[in-house]
């Protein structure tokens, strides 16, 4: 039973990938890093994303080693430039 997560792209990453979100499925167990690798392989333009971007799961900052579960919202975040 594969894990399916919703991946969201923001700012420059959304421009690079040409979309703001995608559904990604992969076999368990899977980490955020696995999601990133799958995205970079499967989505046109996603090769331009860094191999180790900032990431959040369900709106919390996480390391790329964090596990993901079906239904999670995984966000790939360009370098933060708020304020």
């Amino acid at each position: 039973m594969p894990i399916t997560v919703r991946v969201r792209f923001f700012a420059r990453y959304a421009e690079l990938v040409g979309r703001s979100e995608a559904a990604v499925s992969l076999p368990p167990p899977a980490t955020v890093g696995d999601v990133v690798r799958r995205v970079r392989e499967d989505l046109p333009g996603a090769r331009a994303l860094p191999e180790r971007p900032l990431a959040a799961v369900n709106m919390k900052h996480v390391k790329l080693e964090a596990q993901v579960q079906s239904g999670d919202e995984v966000a790939l975040l360009p370098p933060i430039a708020g304020g």
Binding site: F10, M59, H61
Partner: protein, 154 residues
Amino acid sequence: MRSAELNAMSYLTRSPISVDVLVAEVSSSACGGTCLFLGTVRNGRDEQGVTAIEYSAYEDMVDAEFGRLLADARGRWPEARIAVRHRLGTIPVGEASIAIVAAAPHRAQAFEACRYVIEGVKQRIPVWKKELRVDGSEVWVDPAGHPTAKPSHV
């Protein structure tokens, strides 16, 4: 899509930030010191013909992360009263993109809490900016040359 709505409960706004409203939110007769920080769009020595900055965000996460950041600040300065507003959209040079206000019984707490929050914003709050230049070009701002650095609290 919930992130498109900027409601009254959000730390985000698409309108100019009212300093008076923010200061009023935290004012209290028990507080003798109030520190306000305003971040404004700059066209200075390090910029080249910037006319405005377009701010965008992972809006739901901004609100969640601001909630955690302010809870952290209140844990450190329990007597401080803190309010924050981040503006999104196209902001012209000279106008504020962020305002943070901290009121406390004593001034040291107010300064420290205010500074803590703006430093946290720079590390944690998922907001991005694109410089709009006089020549019509647009450039994403990659702060401080640490393009893939993780926030230190992760």
